[in-house]
């Protein structure tokens, strides 16, 4: 194998406490090592004038699976560059793939890598759609990947909860599902709400009963969070809360935090869940309330789901809320589905407009959350791609967060009521490179339990991004000089240099095998797939993912 020295860069490695040290980074056989200054290497790269960070990790980005592909099928008109087709790549390493708001998997990999990202996680994998999701992720070049499996709207979970079955059995069922689907964690979307919509319920508050199963979202959230804690799954429950997009939903978000009773959890795309009802339009920012709750509850982490102005598509498992908002579709069409007694989906194209009061406020709320939450280790930088905007807008978002005058210039351009009244204009905080490094790599790695990723300590995987220092942070983060994946140069100044196959992160919690006969019986009487065909084996996962490496993550010592 090969060795590499990155010489003289400013290393920002928050996991290992470094704050902007000028030092060399050594790499041998795909791992970070200590190299003595005299030690000969296969390649030496001059990184003076550059910022060196671990490769970026996007912990919440819709990159593959049913609803993502439905978005592509629904919106071929968005797979064009203006009126023209996307040009074919001029790089022999790339295959043709569209760069629209839901890019092809190939383009997804190329564009992430060019930006210095080396891992991405699909947050909403339905158990019944797990093979498909892994297949798509396997066709994303270069990036390591993983997915959170959706639970808490499957009829079996709700039935077990309604029947007050032993908690341990529910926990066993969850562990079985995680293993069978080869997931990295568990996500709940509108707890019990997707199922309730199938029973024609149109709204479900945190303490409201599911019309059929007579269980509440509070019970669902608490049970799932507790089980994951006890199973030792490193990433805690990933929560897309109740009442997404509804004015006044801050109360649901606070109630959800309350339902956790101190259990760890990750609240996702919180921007969509931080709305008040003040003002003439009965729609206001509740970013301060949310930030105070996050600051006061160290068990909670968040990602923001910042919106970006322009055309995109919202692809969500939340069929209840997507149906409710489908009238806002732009263009005017949408796809919804009820899927396999597991979950559902709703794909609604959307254009965020600067001159829309609501959209402008959403934009401001996202930024307020970033700037008001004190601990960057508990905030991940996301746009909930593609729902708030495409991942390719991250460099622009980073500039908004790091550069107050730029931020205020943008604020002045949006809906005048928001520009005049938003608290954003008075927030002086500018995030540092250190904080950006936490929110885009070190923090997500920690929240996912990836011990050898997201940092540059000895023994870590050599996933590295080298950015040329530039006062224009958008330009700086758009095009790193060098990007390495496991020590291989995969991008150079915005050009893909190699396309290795990424690996799959997943966890395998233990459970009592007694649950299997119960599940076999349930699937025979209620399901549509033979129980023996549900589990994705290691060999099958490998073939789904184009032979990429299997990266089982270590469990922590289960808390009981």
């Amino acid at each position: 194998m090969s060795s590499l020295r990155l010489r003289g860069g400013v290393v920002i490695d928050p996991t290992n406490g470094s704050s902007a040290d000028v030092r060399d980074i050594g790499v041998r056989d795909g791992r970070i090592v200590v190299l003595t200054p005299q030690e000969p290497v296969d390649e030496e790269v001059d990184a003076t004038g550059c910022i060196v960070m671990a490769g970026g990790i996007d912990m919440h980005t819709h990159i593959g699976g049913g609803k993502v592909n439905l978005s592509r099928l629904l919106l071929p008109e968005m797979q064009r560059s203006g009126v023209n087709p996307y040009a074919l790549p001029d790089n022999a390493l790339e295959l043709a793939s569209c760069n629209g708001c839901t890019p092809g998997t190939l383009a997804t990999g190329y564009r992430y890598v060019e930006m210095g990202y080396t891992a991405a996680f699909e947050p909403a994998m339905m158990p019944s759609n797990a093979r498909h999701t892994h297949m798509e992720m396997g066709d994303i070049p270069v990036l390591d990947h993983g997915a959170y499996v959706m639970l808490g709207n499957d009829e079996l979970f709700l039935q077990m909860l309604a029947e007050k079955q032993d908690f341990e059995r529910i926990r066993d069922y969850m562990a079985w599902t995680i293993r069978a689907s080869k997931a990295m964690g568990v996500k709940v979307v509108n707890p019990a709400g997707i199922s309730a919509f199938k029973f024609n319920q149109r709204k479900l508050d945190v303490d409201e009963n599911h019309v059929h199963w007579q269980v509440t979202p509070r019970q669902v959230v608490h049970t799932l969070a507790r089980a994951l804690r006890e199973l030792g799954v490193p990433h805690p429950l990933h929560i897309h809360g109740s009442n997404l997009g509804v004015a006044g939903n801050i109360q649901s978000t606070l109630d959800t935090i309350d339902a956790l009773e101190g259990l760890p959890a990750h609240l996702t795309h919180v921007q969509f869940h931080a709305y008040g009802t003040e003002g003439a339009k009965k729609f206001s920012s509740a970013a301060l309330q949310l930030a105070e709750a996050v600051n006061a509850n160290p068990n909670v982490s968040i990602d923001v789901g910042q919106i970006m102005f322009g055309q995109t598509v919202t692809a969500s498992g939340d069929s209840m809320r997507q149906h409710a908002q489908s009238g806002l579709a732009s263009p005017r069409k949408w796809v919804g589905a009820d899927i396999e007694c597991d979950a559902g989906c709703g794909v609604v194209p959307f254009r965020y407009r600067e001159q829309s009061y609501v959209n402008a406020l959403q934009w401001a709320i996202g930024l307020e959350i970033f700037l008001l939450v004190k601990d960057p280790w508990r905030v991940a930088l996301t746009t909930d791609h593609p729902n708030g905007g495409p991942f390719t807008s991250y460099p622009h978002l980073i500039r908004l967060l790091m550069d107050r005058s730029f931020r205020n210039e943008q604020l002045a351009k949006i809906h005048p009521d928001v520009a005049a009244n938003s608290a954003l204009g008075s927030i002086t905080r500018e995030l540092s490179l250190h904080e950006i490094a936490i929110m885009t790599r070190a923090g997500p790695a920690k929240l996912l339990g990836l011990r050898d990723r997201g940092h540059l300590g000895v023994g870590a995987a050599a996933d590295i991004a080298v950015y040329r220092e530039n006062a224009d942070r958008e330009a700086m983060f758009s095009t790193p000089e060098h990007v390495y994946k496991d020590g291989t140069l995969v991008a150079r100044a915005g050009r893909v240099m190699a396309v290795p196959t990424g690996g799959t992160h997943f966890v395998e919690p233990e459970y009592d095998r007694g649950i299997e006969s119960y599940l076999r019986k349930h699937m025979a009487s209620h399901g549509s797939v033979n129980y023996d065909n549900v589990t994705i084996t290691h060999d099958e996962l490998c073939s789904c993912c184009n032979g990429g490496r299997l990266l089982p993550a270590a469990l922590f010592e289960p808390a009981t």
Binding site: G64, G66, N69, R72, L73, P76, Q79, S81, N84, P85, Y86, L88, L95, A96, S97, C98, N99, G100, T102, P103, G104, T105, L106, A107, M126, S128, R131, H132, M135, E136, D139, W176, R179, A180, K198, F199, N200, A329, K333, W334, V335, G336, A337, D338, I339, E340, C341, E516, H526, G527, S528, V529, N530, D532, N533, T537, H538, S543, C544, N546
Partner: protein, 421 residues
Amino acid sequence: MTETPVTLRVGATRWTCPFCLLLCDTSTVQVDASGALTLSGTGCACASRALARFSAQPATASPQVGGQDCSLDQAVAAAAQLLAASRQPLFGGLGTDVSGARALYRLACKTGAICDAAEGAALMTTLRATQDRGSFFTTLAEVRTRADLIVCVGGTPVEQAPGFFERCGVGEALVAKRHVVVIGGSAADDAVLATLRTRPGVTAESIPLQGDLFTTVATLSALVAGRAVREAPAALKSLATLLQQARYAVFVGETRGLPAQGALIVESINRTVGTLNQTTRAAAMWLGGGNGAGTVNQVFAWLSGLPLRSRAGPLGLEHEPLCFDAQRLLAEQAVDSLLWVSSFDPDVAPPATALPTIVLGHPDLVSAGASVFIPVSTPGIGSPGHLFRADGSVMLPLFAVYEDTLPTLADVVGRIVEGVR
């Protein structure tokens, strides 16, 4: 532990049937003394018919160039040469699984080929209706668990998917009372309904067309929306009421059976579903894209961002759901070579054409006149694989019944990719 493979009964192989859209996976395949493959368990006529085209002795068919047997290397080289010389290739048939589709995409990018499936028209019928107005769909387990009203549009799907009503749980106690309606069905459909009526809790009715199918579904749509319809037929009025009262109504249709401009019928039904979903719950299930077409469509969509009837052409990635129809391209002589793939069904033969043709598929595929013929393994018979089920959400693994001597499509196409200069 769930990782351990299932123990197989002697002579029987765990099996997922790749021969219809339902991908039934509860039967096994038995190999009898003569080497014939037979179903055990709850099989169906479609599966038995398809299995009769294979035997437990792996096929030893030889590749051919110009009708003469040759080595695989020679056939691959000839295919690569043919494609390299072609200015606008057409990839048709597309009867393969995920791994075959992944390989075909690479070759399509390299050659600028236009890709359309043998059932491309049926596939586009659903897709274009969705692209115009959207849709709301459901899946088999949902239908089984909650559908109290199933409305078949233009006939039942039992010929293409014999186990359809069983897979939907019609007659099971999960839903105490189910009503099945066929709009515009045939005498054969009436016979199907008669059988369904004998099942516990099942009622069924047949509603004849009121005018043609377009008019019938348009009238139904208007009635469901509560619009005034002059002299509305009583049968449709009562169906509209049933739909409004149902807890979970499901429309089912086979797109390949629809008349020309069938996308309008799909759109009308989708609109009816949308209306119903304002007050109660409903969904549609469109069956189309068999023989691997639906799977290839999904794979191409995720790799490129665009569905079939697309190409990586000189201007870039283009999707033309009407212009890139294989039959139209052949008729207009807009392509100058054809690569035809049919791994599952030997009867899905390439269209008659004078163009240089490469045929990759089932050993019994009629390949007379083909410039190059390479028999390939059938996923689910001679090799493992993956296919999407009719409802588009569930992908299932296919298992090999025997170890094939034939190469997989992915192997062959991968070698052609290397050979195209």
